[in-house]
């Protein structure tokens, strides 16, 4: 469900390096990348290629050493910590490999968590959470703690949490990495559904070529350089 018009993500001359002692270790070198609204992009590459770093920079949880990252027309590299946190709350949904749910909160409460940062009333929050739990087919598990759910169910709760604020961009870091093949397929189908039916833009890091094949576009990185971009 790709749209024409300006890209949602526009990256130019992006570089990231870390300091270790007096040594600079370059992780990303001069990356240029555009992602259109409604695209499902898989970032691939061997360990240390910089794909997770690129994902973190796009998600606004890390700062680049050079270059610009425009998302929806805002260069997030220029935002301060507070503004960046507000921007993430409003625009980005996160899906992690190990789900990162709060273990003492029920599935319902975990999904409700990002809504605390919005101005919604308790009733509005309840309605919204019920909607997204229904979307991920977990309405009957709403009161369960994460420890009472399977890995696939926990990842679906995490997807519901990523969706609940209706962000334009969803970033997924190895979303099937901790799941068996069949459950991973279910999660990928759900991500495809988000793109196709809800028009979400997803950037996903994965090691798994089969998972990457489910995305509309595969971007390969090696040693911090974008080496291949296989479009739809």
């Amino acid at each position: 469900m790709q749209e024409s018009g300006p890209p949602l993500i526009r990256i130019r001359g992006l570089a990231k390096s870390y300091h270790r002692g007096e040594q600079d270790i370059a992780v990303l070198l001069d990356i240029d990348l555009d992602v259109m609204p409604g695209e499902f992009v898989a970032l691939m590459g061997p360990s240390g290629s910089g794909k997770s770093t690129l994902l973190n920079l796009i998600a606004g949880i890390d700062k680049p050493s050079a270059g610009t990252i425009e998302i929806g027309g805002i260069d997030i590299a220029t935002l301060g910590e507070g503004a960046l946190a507000d921007w993430r709350a409003a625009n980005v949904g996160f899906i992690f490999q190990f789900y990162n749910l709060i273990p003492v909160l029920s599935a319902f409460e975990n999904v409700e968590l990002p809504l605390l940062l919005t101005g919604l009333s308790a009733r509005q929050r309840r309605e919204r959470v019920a909607q997204v739990l229904e979307l991920v087919a977990l309405s009957d598990r709403a009161e369960h703690l994460p420890s009472e759910l399977s890995g696939g169910q926990q990842q679906r709760v995490a997807i519901a949490r990523a969706l609940v604020t209706d962000p334009t961009l969803i970033v997924a870091d190895e979303p099937t990495g901790d799941l068996d093949r069949a459950t991973g397929e279910e999660v990928l189908s759900l991500l495809e559904q988000l793109v196709d039916e809800l028009g979400k833009t997803i950037v996903m890091v994965t090691h798994d070529p089969k998972a990457a094949a489910r995305a509309g576009r595969m971007v390969h990185l090696e040693k911090g350089v974008l080496v291949d971009d296989l479009g739809p």
Binding site: I61, A85, F94, N100, E109, A122
Partner: protein
């Protein structure tokens, strides 16, 4: 509401650890309260003293008596409204363990100086009429099950022999700070007996001097002592509070030690609590990183840690405070009449809660500061 639910669930995530920390807090806060109550009890006499009463005693020593004849000269001092006197009797009721203060006083002049001793008119008259009569405080009467008309034998230590007194009145304190463990008998009876035995009488332990204006206590004290300067029995006059504090200062080293121990206990539990919170924060590093990634600011993480720490410390502190009351009652029973007034004061309770609050705040300060500054990427990596 959501935040409070999260705090509550977080606080009891490791039930055993939280409960053990709370037990530590209960012990520390109740021990702190009990020690403070003991220190307060030591000062109770001074705190309950009146600003309108001076005590005149021998400048040489409290054990050296003063001539009764001084009473008239004291009455003549400008600013003095009333004068009475008392002697420490120091008798033993059945056994030394039953210690309680006994004073030989002049009923007619003594009671008007102590309006905080509430005694019915009938009992006051009955006591004044009976030279072998005594009055006692309500707590003392209750402790030994005495009732009016009972015979109370005391074995004298200063005034030898067995003295049989009759209980003629039971006074109650005007407020909780008044000592209800005293016995008062007729000074006249003791004086007559001493004179009959040794031919030497008309001496008193201390004079109690009522003054009209408490603001002139210093000036009046100087006037009194000036009256008897260069006499055979020079006097030392001070406010009743200073007189009482003189007794307290004799055990000052013990009091300082008790106070030090009470603070050390709080510091120890602070370290225990800080360790609990540091462990908690370390274990939840990835959760805090996740919350920050979702858009929650550092202040939210700080609120979570401070909230949880305060929740644990205040629950523990409140339980410790509640435990202090029966502990203090049990201690007071064991201590008998050693402490005339032994009660957990409102200020002690407030200090206990304040200590619990400080423990909660201090314990969370370092982890909260550290977790509010965690790098999101490093924190998320922690989970993997």
């Amino acid at each position: 509401m959501f935040l409070f639910r999260l705090l509550l669930k977080n606080a009891f995530r490791h039930r055993l650890r939280t409960l053990l920390t709370m037990v530590g807090l209960v012990v520390a806060v109740s021990a702190y309260g009990l020690l403070r109550t003991i220190v307060d009890a030591w000062y109770a006499g001074a705190e309950a003293s009146s600003s309108t009463r001076l005590i005149t005693r021998s400048a040489t020593s409290l054990t050296v008596p003063l001539p009764l004849a001084y009473a008239e000269r004291l009455r003549a001092v400008d600013g003095v409204s009333r004068v009475s006197w008392s002697n420490w009797f120091g008798g033993i009721y059945i056994t030394e363990r039953n210690f309680f203060p006994q004073f030989a006083v002049d009923p007619a002049t003594y009671l008007p100086l102590y309006p905080e001793f509430r005694l019915s008119e009938a009992e006051r008259v009955a006591w004044q009429r009976d030279r072998k009569g005594v009055i006692v405080g309500a707590r003392l009467a209750q402790k030994f099950g005495w009732k009016l008309g009972d015979n109370i034998p005391l074995r004298g230590t200063i005034y030898s022999g067995t003295w049989n007194f009759t209980l003629r009145g039971i006074y109650e304190g005007a407020d909780a700070s008044v000592d209800e463990n005293q016995m008062l008998m007729h000074w006249g009876l003791i004086n007559e007996t001493v004179r009959a035995r040794s031919g030497r009488g008309d001496y008193v332990g201390v004079f109690v001097v009522g003054i009209r204006d408490p603001n002139n206590a210093g000036v009046i004290s100087e006037r009194i002592d000036a009256q008897f300067r260069n006499s055979l029995a020079e006097t030392l006059t001070e406010t009743e509070k200073a007189f009482q504090l003189g007794f307290v200062s004799m055990s000052e080293a013990i009091l300082v030690a008790l106070q030090a121990v009470s603070y050390i206990i709080v510091i120890i539990i602070m370290a225990v609590m800080a360790n609990t919170m540091a462990m908690t924060a370390r274990e939840r590093l990835a959760e805090y990183a996740t919350l920050k990634a979702l858009g929650f600011g550092p202040a939210f993480v700080v609120r979570l840690l401070f909230g949880e720490s305060l929740l644990i410390s205040l629950i523990g502190g409140l339980a410790g405070l509640l435990l202090t009351l029966p502990l203090a009652a049990a201690f007071a029973n064991t201590a008998g009449s050693l402490f005339p007034v032994f009660r957990v004061s409102a200020s002690t309770m407030a200090l206990q809660l304040a200590a619990a609050f400080v423990v909660g705040v201090v314990a969370a300060a370092w982890p909260a500061w550290k977790m509010s500054r965690i790098d999101i990427v490093a924190g998320l990596r922690h989970v993997a």
